[in-house]
């Protein structure tokens, strides 16, 4: 951090000012002139929160994608299918048993199993052949999409939010002051906050697991140099299978999350594959903190865009990707 400030004092200053402005926008009571210029504070705060929570969902999908890529150099273009599959499994479980939490566990386990099958049957056979893997996974994603369309139909599914999560909570953020002097606080959907908190917990746990445990050390070593790691006697294939299963399972969990606060339908697989591609390109392929930063940026861009420039909202995401590719092609937080 301090080295960054020493090397790029101008950029650091800009970053500090931007953060200060953002904090002021979030915590201060807006003067009337500002409200007139860019609309009510409630709308802005909601868009920011929605962006952050949507970023949480994107992070869940993209972290598995980036983990698999980082370790195995597999570009798994069937990742979106795993997301949708997890969502459908979650729907089936939650509508059969009525338990929302159980649907996460089952979705994780089943998508992880599919991940293991993919790794053992497909990727192990074509290790190191990037193009072939890419083509095969594109093919698989089409096959999966059609199978799921056949099994579940073209209908929309929505996973029931449990009763204790329905409704808003009041956050200690003032959106406006009534004429009587009474402050109006921000009301925000509980379920989105819980889901965001869960994705933060998963993200931190992943970071800790990667940086503080033995298996994490092995994975990081594998990311740096697979061959040397294998030569030291680590059973690299087993590590691959575990990582693939975990990444796939995360996509499955994300499917349940997506099915809860959005909905599941054919085509969602492609949407989330694209989202996670953009996220990891912006954040840096193979980097977990990069996936978190990329997800946050893309989530915020989508939501703020849909409020302030609705017509061009879709373009913003891709503009960000183009900018990153032009200025820092390896991604914002990539190590190499």
């Amino acid at each position: 951090m301090s080295r960054f400030v020493e090397r790029h004092p101008a950029w650091a200053l800009i970053a500090i000012i931007a953060i200060a402005v953002a904090l002021w926008l979030i915590f201060a009571v807006w003067p009337p002139g500002l409200e007139e210029a860019i609309g009510r504070k409630r709308v802005f705060l909601n868009a920011v929160f929605n962006g952050i929570t949507l970023g949480g969902l994107y992070f869940l999908v993209a972290s598995g994608f980036t983990l698999i890529f980082g370790l195995m150099r597999n570009v798994n273009l069937a990742h979106g299918s795993l997301y949708l599959f997890g969502g459908y499994v979650g729907y089936a479980i939650s509508s059969a048993t009525g338990s929302w939490l159980l649907s996460f566990i089952v979705a994780f386990i089943l998508t992880a199993l599919v991940g293991i099958l993919l790794q053992v049957i497909v990727f192990r056979r074509m290790e190191g052949q990037d193009l072939r893997q890419t083509m095969v996974t594109i093919g698989l994603s089409i096959v999966f999409a059609d199978l799921m369309l056949w099994a579940c139909g073209g209908d929309f599914y929505q996973i029931q939010t449990p009763n204790w999560l329905i409704g808003p909570v009041e956050l200690p953020l003032i959106t406006a002051i009534k004429s009587s002097g009474e402050p109006v606080y921000l009301r925000y959907p509980m379920v989105r906050l819980v889901i965001f908190a869960a994705s933060v917990v998963i993200g931190v746990a992943m970071w800790l697991a990667l940086n503080r445990t033995r298996i994490g050390m092995i994975i990081r070593a594998g990311v740096d140099d697979r061959d040397i790691l294998a030569a030291t006697g680590v059973r690299i294939q087993l590590v691959f299978v575990l990582v693939f299963a975990f990444g796939a399972g995360l996509a499955g969990i994300a499917g349940v999350v997506g099915g809860t606060f959005q909905s599941l339908s054919p085509g969602e697989d492609i949407r989330f594959l694209l989202a996670s591609l953009v996220v990891v390109i912006v954040g840096g392929m193979g980097s977990i903190p990069g996936a978190a930063l990329g997800a946050l940026i893309i989530g915020l861009a989508e939501q703020l865009g849909s409020v302030y420039i609705p017509t061009y909202a879709i373009v913003v995401t891709f503009l960000i990707m183009v900018l990153v590719l032009a200025i820092r092609p390896q991604g914002l937080l990539a190590r190499r």
């Binding site: 609309g39 409630r42 709308v43 705060l45 909601n46 868009a47 929605n50 929570t53 949507l54 509508s95 139909g153 073209g154 209908d155 929309f156 929505q158 029931q160 939010t161 999560l165 329905i166 409704g167 808003p168 009301r187 925000y188 959907p189 509980m190 379920v191 989105r192 606060f261 959005q262 909905s263 339908s265 054919p266 085509g267 989508e302 939501q303 849909s306 409020v307 609705p310």
Partner: protein, 416 residues
């Protein structure tokens, strides 16, 4: 399952056709939105179509009607693709298409390239389809979105005393037409529409849209349909929304009122207007509801037909009755059939329907209110029945043409 049995049916009819060569077939292509946001609407439309076939039969004189179904996703290009496929590959002679507003405009324009064929609109309701440069071989037996809103603005202003409302709608022609009808009437009474929000068809995340809803209005009008409506209501409930609601025609029908989960309960008490009302006591309507309920097991249908089922029923009915009038004569570029279609008056379940000079329906409209039947099922209850609603909504055609075509900002909120 149904797909499988339909496949078997098609296969067996293929074998049987060898045996019964003598019987001539009339091929009719049908499109419905069986994919995407409006899937449930398309499925129920097909149920209405099937109900009509159950009631009326498939025989026209000594000929048999054969229906070929193609799927679309509510985008205009998907509709044109489906219609083109039906004409070029399946060699259909008559089309029952399409379901959704933008599709309707595209198919109408496409119909001009095949003047020899007959196109009967299945359910689409954009105003432009039959109002601007209509195709001579395109017939619409359902009213457009603006006609379906007649009565709502007045009821909201006079009975509910709403003075200021805001609208949220999907960003395409049918909802423009619906908001057009609402705004004309509501602002004509002296009401104000302070804000019109448009969201893309197929929006998933409505959280920011919900946050941007204004607080200082008496009611919020929702012009959404299918999965969008369900997504919106779900997130509206999560956000703890409490405003009075008003609904468009596909927002307040069984596609939404019988959706899973309890988010739909936000709609109880919502006022709306549409080409039908679930609880109408008219014997013709009740007979249709019975036929619909008997045709499908309860878990494969809605408790009561949706607007789409009714529209598909009406258009299928018009086609079969007109074909019978001319005894299935399709000679001379189907001239006799087209003439019969233009003149025919049908006793549709939702009231008498006849066509104007643009081949656009003049029919009956209903103002409704959503009620809970006590067992948790929601229905639209009739508040008011308005007969003989025409496309210019009772305005003088010259005045009406000055208002402009429905769009994001047209009409202005004023008295015309």
């Amino acid at each position: 399952m149904s797909k499988c049995s339909m496949g078997l049916l098609a296969l067996s009819s293929l074998f049987l056709s060898g045996a019964a060569i003598a019987q001539e077939k009339i091929k009719v292509g049908v499109t419905a939105t069986l994919e995407g946001t409006y899937t449930v609407l398309g499925e129920d439309g097909m149920r209405g179509h099937q109900t009509a076939l159950n009631v009326l039969g498939k025989k026209v004189g000594d000929k048999e009607l054969e229906f070929i179904v193609a799927s679309t996703d509510a985008t205009p290009d998907s509709a044109v693709r489906a219609v083109r496929k039906l004409i070029e590959q399946d060699k259909v002679q008559i089309l029952l298409s399409p379901l959704s507003g933008d599709e309707g405009i595209a198919v109408k324009n496409f119909a001009k390239t095949h003047p020899e064929l007959t196109f009967i609109n299945a359910a689409s309701g954009a105003q432009e389809t039959t109002y601007v440069d209509p195709a001579p071989n395109f017939f619409r037996y359902n009213m457009d979105g603006a006609q379906w809103q007649v009565g709502l603005g007045k009821y909201a202003y006079e009975e509910k005393k709403y003075r200021k409302i805001a609208t949220v709608g999907e960003d395409y022609s049918f909802i423009y037409t619906q908001v057009f009808g609402l705004v004309l009437e509501f602002c004509g009474m002296g009401g104000q529409v302070t804000n019109r929000q448009w969201v893309p068809l197929g929006t998933k995340d409505f959280a920011s849209v919900i946050a941007a809803l204004p607080d200082d209005v008496d009611a919020i009008y929702l012009g959404l349909g299918g999965a969008d409506a369900v997504n919106f209501l779900n997130q509206y409930q999560q956000a703890g929304g409490k405003a009075h609601l008003m609904g468009g025609s596909i927002m307040i029908d069984q596609t939404i009122l019988s959706s899973k989960g309890n988010a739909k309960n936000a709609l109880v008490g919502t006022i709306a207007a549409s080409g039908q009302a679930d609880t109408w006591e008219d014997p013709g309507w009740q007979k249709f509801v019975k036929a619909y309920q008997d045709a499908f097991p309860p878990n494969k249908r809605f408790p009561s037909p949706s607007l789409l089922a009714t529209n598909y029923y009406g258009s299928t009915m018009a086609l079969i009755l007109a074909l019978r009038q001319v005894n299935g004569d399709l000679s001379n570029n189907q001239a006799k059939l087209k003439e019969a279609l233009a003149k025919i008056e049908i006793d549709a379940p939702n009231g008498k329907i006849k066509l104007d000079s643009n081949r656009q329906a003049i029919g009956t409209n209903f103002v409704t209110e959503v009620v809970d039947d006590g067992k948790g099922a929601l229905f639209s209850k009739v508040v008011k029945v308005i007969p003989n609603v025409n496309q210019t909504l009772g305005y003088d055609p010259a005045v009406f043409s000055k208002i402009g075509l429905p769009s994001r900002t047209v009409p202005e909120c004023k008295k015309y």
